[in-house]
Symmetry: C2
Subunit: 275 residues, 2 copies
């Protein structure tokens, strides 16, 4: 186990453990879903939304979602020191024998992982971030689109495309040059008083931070459209934001050879998302 991971803490189905069965279908097939979010002073941030999304994702795959009560109990046990930390929840369909079919008696495995708060370069907030334009094109699968499932090889391969530590994330498109998301964040573009974020009905992960920006845009006097967004159009945006539940929001100031001046929407959104 690597050094960083060594300090993690784990609960499997409510019991301390750092190992799962080799027969878990999460390993065999990526047959499960996950969530990653902040816990501050022992409180899971925006838990209602996180649990709602976890339930929806489980339902979409026909996986029995753990109860809200069991997960809250896990989080309470794990984060009772009151320190700020990151929680990751993995829910797998459970353990099975060889083959894609599974028994109707299969039992979900729920895994909770506690890890340290991530440390991001402060200039990501003060000066904005640079994106890599990924060569890999996301495949389109409407039955998996939007779901934060465990089949993430596309993200892994895309993330392997750059090693420059000054690049914060990689922009992913589908094979039709539609902008979709970044490897670990969603993307939102501002054109005047309108935000456009790509529709995620064919590929991509619909994150909670994106949902909260859509929900709260009027606070910032912004309208929101969810629609197809071509790269050409994105490059004409007045401001581009990437977002997730850990870093909140950052402005993109460099992409595909073009630079944008640093503006202020990211700070407003970050304030809303992280507080």
């Amino acid at each position: 186990m690597n050094l960083e991971a060594k300090n993690n803490q784990y609960l499997i189905n409510g019991m301390p453990s750092s190992g799962i069965s080799i027969n878990d279908r999460g390993l065999s097939y990526g047959d499960g879903v996950f969530r990653t979010f902040l816990v501050k002073n022992g409180v899971a941030q925006h838990w209602t939304l996180q649990y709602q999304k976890l339930s929806q994702d489980c339902q979409a795959l026909g996986i029995t979602c753990p109860s809200n009560k069991d997960l809250l109990k896990d989080l309470q046990i794990m984060f009772d020191d009151g320190a700020d930390a990151v929680a990751k929840i993995i829910v797998t369909r459970g353990e099975g024998s060889r083959g894609y079919a599974f028994s109707d008696k299969i039992q979900t495995n729920r895994i909770v992982i506690k890890s340290a708060m991530p440390v991001y370069p402060s200039i990501n907030q003060t000066q904005g971030v640079k994106l890599h334009l990924c060569e890999l094109k996301l495949s389109q699968q409407k039955k998996l689109a939007g779901i934060k499932h465990l089949n993430r090889l596309e993200n892994v391969l895309a993330r392997m495309e750059w090693s420059d530590a000054n690049i914060a994330d990689g922009l992913l498109m589908d094979s039709n040059d539609n902008v979709i998301e970044c490897t670990m964040s969603n993307i939102i573009a501002r054109f005047g008083n309108e935000l456009i974020t790509p529709s995620l009905d064919q590929c991509g992960v619909a994150g909670i931070a994106r949902a909260r920006i859509i929900e709260n845009a009027t606070r910032f006097n912004l309208a929101v459209k969810i629609e197809a967004l071509k790269l050409d159009k994105l490059m004409q945006a007045h401001e581009i934001i990437i977002c997730n539940s850990l870093f909140g929001a950052w402005q993109v100031v460099e992409l595909n050879g073009k630079q944008w001046p640093k503006q202020g929407l990211d700070a407003q959104l970050r304030e809303m998302l992280l507080n």
Copy 2:
């Protein structure tokens, strides 16, 4: 653990163990590959081809492949009783902390699982099999096409489409109505003295049984074409065969409302594949 899986035996990196780290990227992201094959009298069947494919798949994902020597030693330890059994090898990129990036010091985890010989209905050989035509359409991702990787949610969802025990497998197409494969097998269609098997450069898994049929077709006075194959054309085939390394080959005698008379190619191919 379910009853069937309880009798399995496991080696992780050469040591007996039935659990893997929660930090294994095989679980987090499906970041790994696998192989499944027969072991007869302690001998891994067609090991040269199996290891070659494992190496190719690892290389395609930038995963360090375990050495042939280590894997052969694992297999020797595990199958020294000389009984016939099934071996499954899973190779994951290794353990990592949160995030898609990984250290250049990451170490592959190799998992070997021994399980009992599968028991298939004898009528699959004597009378042929029925296929379900899957509603799910495979997504197209040329960077993953052909590879037997751990991102298998499409197969899982496709397999959930039927529960009739008389259906042997499900036929998968891509979104352009190209026939690709079945959930656990490859497909080959005979038109006169010519076999056609779908090209797998956009999706699907290129199995060893398929490769061996292509390689040995001349033995049966058959030519082979690897090309796009539409469902309409498949339905006009004189004979349809599905194949994998465990059951060998079966003839499809019912698909999408059409029936085919039982013929003899499946038995010839099975004889070649399983002996």
